[in-house]
Amino acid sequence: MSGGDAPKVKETPAEKIAASKASARWNERQQDGYLDLEVAQVADSERDYREFFAGRTSADIAKKELEANKGLGTATVQKLGDLSDTVREASAVGKTDAAIQAQAIKDNRRVASSKLGSDIAGAALQGFDTTAAMAGQRAVDKVQNKIIKNNARNQMVMDLASAAATGYGMKKAGYSVGKKGISGPETQVYDAKQGKNVTQAGRNYGWSPLLQGL
């Protein structure tokens, strides 16, 4: 295994999906118009509402004026006018009041649903994240396991090669393996009695060197 072909942890499909969901959720703000709402809210916070309420004030003044004018009429006219006003006010604003209340109820329900939906989308995002994290961890584990196996294989090859090289070298040096284990090379020693060099068997090391090697 060379440095170039080291195993790599690749991006899993689950991670790609989770990242795309995060991106989509973010884009949703712009696509659906949430961002515009935020911009409008900030812009409106600076708005001068005096003009907006000016119309209402004019109507209020005119109403007050009408009330004041009533006092100028006879008692009969005034009483009839008051009665008519009461009836008219009650009937004129009824549908608008109902529309306001109905709108408020509808809004509350829809906003509650919307918040629930947002929670659901958030839970889904978390689910995608968790799935991605698990897939990512599996990918890392897979690569690490591969490394452990590769290292073990390399170690085994080196041990065998080392043993083979050692054995080759020792054989070249005259070492041999017999029933009693490893024996050293034969040596020539001078025998005084015979007055010449004689061959002496190599020292026997037994099996321990091999066992130690293992």
């Binding site: 440095g3 709402l37 809210q41 109507a59 009839l80 939906g117």
Partner: protein, 211 residues
């Protein structure tokens, strides 16, 4: 949007009755039973989580997101003002004048022509001002309602941002971890490679020396 006229069942779960509810266009497959894990799958529980998560996402996309989109469109609603205008246009001053005249007869009152003129004038002016005031109030109520709704939606928007950022943070973190892991593996691999070359060289030297 179609309107349901009879009781119906959405995906064998939620039963909706009556005609006041809009028909919900939901594809099949949402909120269905969790699929049985494949026998070949090595991560059946992970698959189950993904299945449920996909269903959640589809439910949001098909049911809640369109609702949110409708709500956003509704932020500029003029429904209350429209209602007030409609009501104002329906105000019939003649009706009130006639009512006033019936009341005069009922109570045995005889208004002089000048008094009658004054009463009619008051009725017409009062009617106009009531309508005007009603519309102005409706404008204010509409404004308040729209701003409140927008405020709620902005809060939801901030929630969406937070969710997206959390998820993006997780994705970026995973990417960083992956890059870091790969760099570590590369370094370990290079170290192991040098170790192998060293061992081979050492063995070769040893063999040479023993020859």
């Amino acid at each position: 949007m179609a309107t349901a006229t009879t009781a119906r069942t959405i995906n064998s779960g939620l039963t909706v009755v009556g005609s006041a509810y809009p028909a919900l266009n939901i594809r099949s497959g949402i909120n269905s039973a969790v699929k049985a894990p494949s026998k070949k799958s090595k991560t059946p529980y992970g698959d189950m989580l993904l299945d449920i998560t996909n269903q959640q996402q589809q439910l949001y996309d098909q049911l809640y997101r369109p609702l949110n989109q409708r709500l956003i469109q509704d932020v500029n609603s003029t429904a209350i003002v429209d209602q007030a205008k409609q009501e104002a246009s329906a105000v019939d001053s003649g009706k009130y004048i006639a009512r006033s005249q019936r009341q005069q007869l009922r109570y045995g009152l005889n208004a002089t022509p000048q008094e009658q003129e004054a009463i009619n004038y008051q009725q017409q002016l009062g009617g106009a001002l009531t309508s005007d005031g009603n519309i102005n109030n409706a404008r204010v109520k509409q404004q308040e309602r729209n701003e409140q709704l927008r405020s709620e939606l902005v809060n939801i928007s901030r929630g969406i941002s937070a969710q997206a950022m959390d998820s993006a943070t997780n994705a970026a973190g995973a990417e960083s971890t992956r890059k870091s892991t790969n760099a570590n593996i590369q370094a370990q691999n290079t170290a192991a490679e040098k170790g192998v070359y060293g061992a081979i060289g050492s063995m070769a030297l040893m063999a040479l020396m023993m020859m």
